[in-house]
């Protein structure tokens, strides 16, 4: 009834929550460095001539500037060129890499969703199909798919296709499981009512089961959104694709000693990429379900 | 208007004494709704009192106030001569809710044993004997090792009743315990509740919106009206004890059912008849 506004509020809440998340991580990060990191100094605070020197009370290897750079040096690194004598900034480079990863993840996500929704529809209508294939759908998730990533990349070539396949694989499972639950969620009495109208299976599917399954579908899509990004990064990284965030992680990992900020900046961008994907799904959910009262966070 | 006078209870000892009880809940925007207004009611030991009224008349709220699950905004609640809070600490209450509220992870037996585990004093063997007795009483002796989900709704509610009675509470509070059950199961369980009541002598406060149920079970029926919730009439149920299936077919039973129904209907008949109903409530 309150629809649009409360849906918007739900999305806002999610965004705020994720903002709090980034803030908490940032605070914990610098607190950790304050306690365990390397000493640092500010020579001339805002031109006042005052200087400040901080000597952390404890010393821990993991908090040193090499292992855990200050947030400001990571942000600073984003503004500098990727390589010396290059015009492109690290930020520009990472954004284009992220766009590539995003595209892969999105395609895989779409295909995986389609497969999951189809499988669920088949399983709900055929007991044999469910019994025969469901154990494998479940077992497929007990398999560390990312372990297969390199082989898929070798098998299908070091390019978009392989990564899309991995993202697809990681998406279809949560969608299948959740969608099956959703298709089965309508009140048995609603199904009986449709039966009393002599509705066909097809009509029952579109008029009762499908609408009832939407909230379940979105629950799964939110899980799958993160999984698709992870799949894409893993596919690119160790698999040896020449583009994308995974590649950037592998590259900057090799240059870690000379520039740890670059690897961290890449991870930061990867995290924001994941969060953006999640927020997009969340917005789609809010729009689709806006007339159904509250949606989950 | 002062609280509605009541007929003196059968026994001279008072189980519950409510005086000037008010309850209001805050609503968004700073104002508040009045759920209960000026409730006065005395219940004697061993009585079986039903609270009946339309949705929103505050009967469940009143029950929860007696059980110290929520606090009144004003007024006093005494149970067995002490404040409700003290009575709860002394474990004077057995509660039965509309849903059975059983614990999935406990067997029927263990569910019934729960209050005894929480209350020191009962030894192991004595404990088990009491659990078995109670399950016998509600006819579930053969299901001690079952888990709640293996039982039907009616059986689950019987487990809840056994659990409420196992520690012999002075006061049994039942909040529409059979509201979700079908008519046949409800009538059978009504009979069982009366049997248990006769055997244990516990005082019972029973919330319902079924008129036949209220009349069949009670020694007194308290009729409540909504917005704000107050007692509009109290009707003595003088049907002979013990009550049986014949009771349900007796002339007097029908008269009393009609009387309760009219008392409930009077609330909708506008100001004049509502006032008359209240006046009649005073006469009893």
């Amino acid at each position: 009834m309150t629809d649009g506004r409360s849906a918007a509020r739900g999305v806002l809440r999610t965004v705020l929550l994720l903002g709090v998340f980034l803030l908490v991580v940032g605070v914990l990060w610098e607190a950790f460095k304050w306690l365990f990191g390397d000493p640092w100094r500010l020579d001339d605070i805002l031109g006042t001539g005052l200087s400040y020197y901080h000597q952390p009370p404890f010393d821990l290897l993991q908090a040193s500037d090499l292992q855990l750079p200050h947030l400001w040096s990571i942000v600073g690194a984003l503004m500098e060129p990727v390589q010396r004598n290059q015009e492109q900034t690290l930020l520009g480079y990472l954004v284009s890499a992220a766009a590539y990863t995003w595209a892969e993840a999105l395609i895989g996500f779409a295909i995986g969703t389609l497969i999951g929704v189809t499988l669920a529809a088949i399983f709900v209508h055929s007991l044999f199909a469910e019994r025969a294939f469901m154990p494998y759908v479940i077992a497929s998730q007990a398999i560390p798919i990312v372990a297969l990533a390199p082989i898929i990349v070798v098998g299908f070539g070091r390019g978009l296709t392989s990564v899309v396949i991995i993202a697809t694989y990681l998406t279809f499972f949560p969608v299948t499981i959740s969608q099956m639950r959703g298709l089965r969620s309508p009140d048995p009495r609603a199904l009986e009512l449709m039966r009393s109208y002599a509705a066909s299976r097809w009509q029952v599917f579109w008029k009762v089961r499908m609408p009832a399954s939407l909230p379940y579908l979105f629950t799964a899509l939110k899980v799958a959104a993160a999984a698709a990004i992870v799949g894409a990064i893993i596919g690119e990284g160790p698999g040896g694709v020449k583009d994308g965030l995974g590649r950037a992680i592998v590259n900057f990992n090799q240059q870690y000693i000379t520039g740890p900020e670059k690897l961290w900046a890449t991870i930061l961008v990867a995290s924001i990429t994941g969060i953006l994907f999640y927020v997009c799904v969340r917005i789609a959910e809010a729009i689709t379900l806006r007339r159904r009262g509250s949606t989950s966070a | 208007m002062s609280s509605v006078p009541v007929t003196p209870p059968a026994s001279d000892a008072l189980a519950v004494r409510l005086a000037g009880v008010h309850k209001s809940f805050p609503v968004k925007g700073g104002s508040s709704t009045v759920a209960l207004e000026d409730i006065g009611l005395d219940i004697g030991t061993g009585e079986f009192v039903s609270l009946i009224g339309p949705s929103g008349c505050g009967k469940s709220t009143l029950l929860r106030i007696v059980g110290d699950l929520i606090e009144p905004t004003a007024g006093t609640v005494e149970v067995n001569g002490k404040p409700a809070h003290q009575a709860r600490i002394d474990r004077d209450y057995g509660m039965v809710f509309q849903a059975p509220v059983l614990f999935d992870w406990r067997t029927v037996e263990a569910n019934v044993r729960l209050p005894l585990e929480l209350m020191t004093g009962a030894a192991g063997a004595d404990r088990d004997r009491r659990v078995r007795e109670m399950l016998d009483l509600v006819g579930l002796a053969d299901f001690t090792r079952h888990h709640p989900h293996q039982l039907s709704g009616g059986m689950q509610q019987r487990v809840a009743i056994a659990r409420a009675l196992v520690f012999e509470p002075a006061l049994l509070l039942m909040d529409e315990p059979f509201g979700a059950l079908d008519e046949m199961t409800r009538e059978r369980l009504n009979g069982e509740v009366l049997k248990v009541w006769a055997r244990t002598g516990t005082t019972v406060i029973f919330v319902t919106h079924s008129i036949p149920e209220a009349v069949f079970l009670s020694t007194r029926v308290v009729v409540m009206s909504p917005r704000p919730g107050r007692i509009s009439e109290i009707i003595d149920i003088d049907l002979p004890q013990p009550r049986t299936e014949e009771t349900r077919e007796s002339e007097r039973y029908f008269e009393l059912v009609t009387q309760v129904r009219e008392a409930l209907r009077a609330q909708h008949g506008g100001g004049a008849s509502a006032a008359r109903a209240r006046a009649e409530g005073g006469i009893g």
Partner: protein, 272 residues
């Protein structure tokens, strides 16, 4: 959930036990599918030699040929994954318990956990390698533990907090102490949530360990064996490694499933 709308006198005796015959019958379709898949795979790839997808028989042969390396790798990787599973779950349970009681702590931790589930945590594998030493198995364990931690902590908190209000009301009517409510209501209520998390975590632990191996470290581990044998064109060995890794994850998953059946046979998750 607890209210069954009508009494069911016919089924009062509880559910009849499913007899052995019919549960064996349920196994027939999946087993048929399995055999058919293996047969088709074998027929489609037989005689193709060292292709990217070798026939099953070649993979089995490779397992025999490289049994020494594969066994050592399996032990190393399984240790990392199970160690990570243990560290991550214990940390998740401890922090979950510590946090569930304080609303403020929950308000900080829950967005943290939700946020963590939307970001590709696995991207910090190389960093964790740097922190704990690339050659130290602890670095792989910590990656696995990090992946395991978040689902466990979220589910422990949810299980402790999402108790039916009526159950708390009942406990209040008994004037029971917070400790009693914790022991008798919250903890049992939390167990099904915990097992749900552990089932996910079992797989995640293997993913974490193997992916961390991809990013560098000692050579006798499943992840490195897969990568190196693939780059040298020995796809049969790579597949053998993948299958062993998968079986490890599947085994851990099944152990959790069995433990769940034994410890909480009453769980609603076992009901259709």
């Amino acid at each position: 959930m607890t209210v069954a709308a009508e009494a069911r006198p016919g089924s009062d005796a509880g559910r009849p036990r499913r007899d052995l015959g019919s549960s064996l019958m349920r196994l027939v379709p999946p087993v048929l599918v399995f055999l058919a898949a293996i047969a088709i795979w074998e027929l489609a790839t037989a005689g193709t030699g060292r292709r990217v997808i070798p026939p099953p028989s070649a993979i089995v042969a490779a397992m025999g040929r490289e049994s020494d390396l594969l066994t050592r790798s399996a032990i190393a990787t399984f240790t990392e994954a199970l160690g990570g599973l243990l560290i991550g779950s214990v940390a998740g349970i401890v922090i979950g318990f510590a946090t569930a009681r304080w609303a403020v702590a929950r308000d900080i931790l829950v967005p943290l956990a939700v946020g963590a589930s939307t970001i590709p945590l696995i991207a910090i594998a190389p960093i964790i390698g740097n922190w704990f030493g690339v050659l130290n198995p602890l670095s792989k364990m910590m990656m696995a533990a990090l992946l395991v931690f978040f689902p466990v902590v979220i589910n422990v908190i949810r299980g402790l907090v999402e108790v039916q209000p009526a159950q708390l009301e009942l406990m209040r009517s008994y004037a029971s102490s917070p400790t009693e409510v914790l022991r008798k209501v919250r903890v049992p209520n939390m167990l099904p949530f915990l097992f749900t998390a552990l089932k996910v975590a079992a797989t995640l632990a293997f993913i974490g360990a193997i992916v961390a191996e991809y990013f560098g470290g000692t050579s006798a581990v499943i992840g490195r064996v897969v990568l190196t044998s693939m780059s040298s064109g020995r796809f049969d060995v790579a597949w053998a490694g993948i299958i062993i890794g998968a079986l490890g994850a599947l085994g851990a998953y099944l152990i959790v499933v069995i433990a769940e059946r034994l410890i909480i046979p009453w769980s609603p998750s076992f009901r259709a």
